[in-house]
Symmetry: C2
Subunit: 237 residues, 2 copies
Amino acid sequence: MARQPQYALIYESVKQQIQNGLFPKGSLLPSENELSAQFATTRMTVRQALTELVREGYIERRHGKGSIVTSERQSLGLLSFHGFSEVVGQANHTVQTNLLEPPTQTNWPTDFFYALTDAERSARCLTLNRLRYADELPVMLEHTFLPALGIETLFEQELLDGSLFKTLRTRYGIDIRNLEQTVRAVGADAKQADTFDCATGTPLLAIERRYVTNRPDFYIYSKLYCYTEQFAISNIF
Amino acid sequence: MARQPQYALIYESVKQQIQNGLFPKGSLLPSENELSAQFATTRMTVRQALTELVREGYIERRHGKGSIVTSERQSLGLLSFHGFSEVVGQANHTVQTNLLEPPTQTNWPTDFFYALTDAERSARCLTLNRLRYADELPVMLEHTFLPALGIETLFEQELLDGSLFKTLRTRYGIDIRNLEQTVRAVGADAKQADTFDCATGTPLLAIERRYVTNRPDFYIYSKLYCYTEQFAISNIF
DNA sequence: GAGTGGTCTAGACCACCTG
DNA sequence: AGGTGGTCTAGACCACTCG
């Protein structure tokens, strides 16, 4: 289900090669013409993939020169992050995600952060509460909400590779197309302070997201709290 | 200087029409074929402009249907924002920017947040300290740093429309291509608390940015502090 | 001068949505 | 069935960089 377009394959392929160190930071990618030949396609298609890599901060393009690898960022969910120690260097961090509780089907919170459509409101709400770690330190609390519309069986099997988005794409053909988000700074409440092992009132990054998918009127909602004392969030996407 | 490519003109034109209410929220944009005809160009060029509008959160595209206007966002520098009251509605806010002090030429701060190249470090540093208001409330403190490389006369005249980026484009042909940023939550220090009229330690959004320009090795740096009690930041770009 | 990315053209076929 | 956006082709000319 959900055949991937060619530019997405090129994007994934080049991204992998960057992350695996085949194209280290500072090096040049093959030229657009070379990539077109390699993937047996045209420059426009290759450019679609490269444009996405620029947007995500992996490469920088130089007119007349080439595409320069600028970072081998790591991803934390759909966020990338880095430690403060490595403003220059590129340490490798371990990333881990734990489920705080089994995924459940509940009703929508009454004071939900986004205005829902009637269809969404009348459906049940699948929720996923996860805690993400960087270098064994808890850094991100993620509450995800999905309307139980056409994905009722989502939690009957394990998530593929622990990834919600990969599961949605593979099993239901749902692709993430875009996201809208709102960002604020808030003080940690007692429970969050306990989770991150910090004082109550410690500043946290609070992000509310709505993911737009290829399925009309099907959105995914997420509320994130990030503890940014040790790790900052990069290029929010 | 710095002729604008056609897709940028289309982007600006459509954006203006959205912001002026010609295409209200929820309405459909003219189809890609119509826009191609209007601007006497091809669909690919129109799509380049529309893709940017999607990325900035103005429109959403629906396969087989059209491009739907999703918001008429307002901009706060290069950020957009909205108040909490209007999760649904689209109030219009007044936006204003004040210079905190005359622009100056100084040395780079010793503990600068980004690793500078030798060329940058050896140049003087142009700084701009601004405070932005939404509905008369101070919401964003912005410290901008530019290497005095080829733009030594930048501050000898007033900024065009008070906009740094517009001035750079018009007078020096410098265009912003991309940006890298790091986001954290911090507690307000005494001076910031005074600026925003809040308690010391109030959570603030702290953003460090590096703008990539069309001029090789010429970057612009910015450090932002956002008071998000009343206004949140949307779709950070 | 050769190669690169930036922009643009004029088509094509497809999947999707609506009447 | 006709229109829409999604993807892709096979070129083109330009401005830029580098040797």
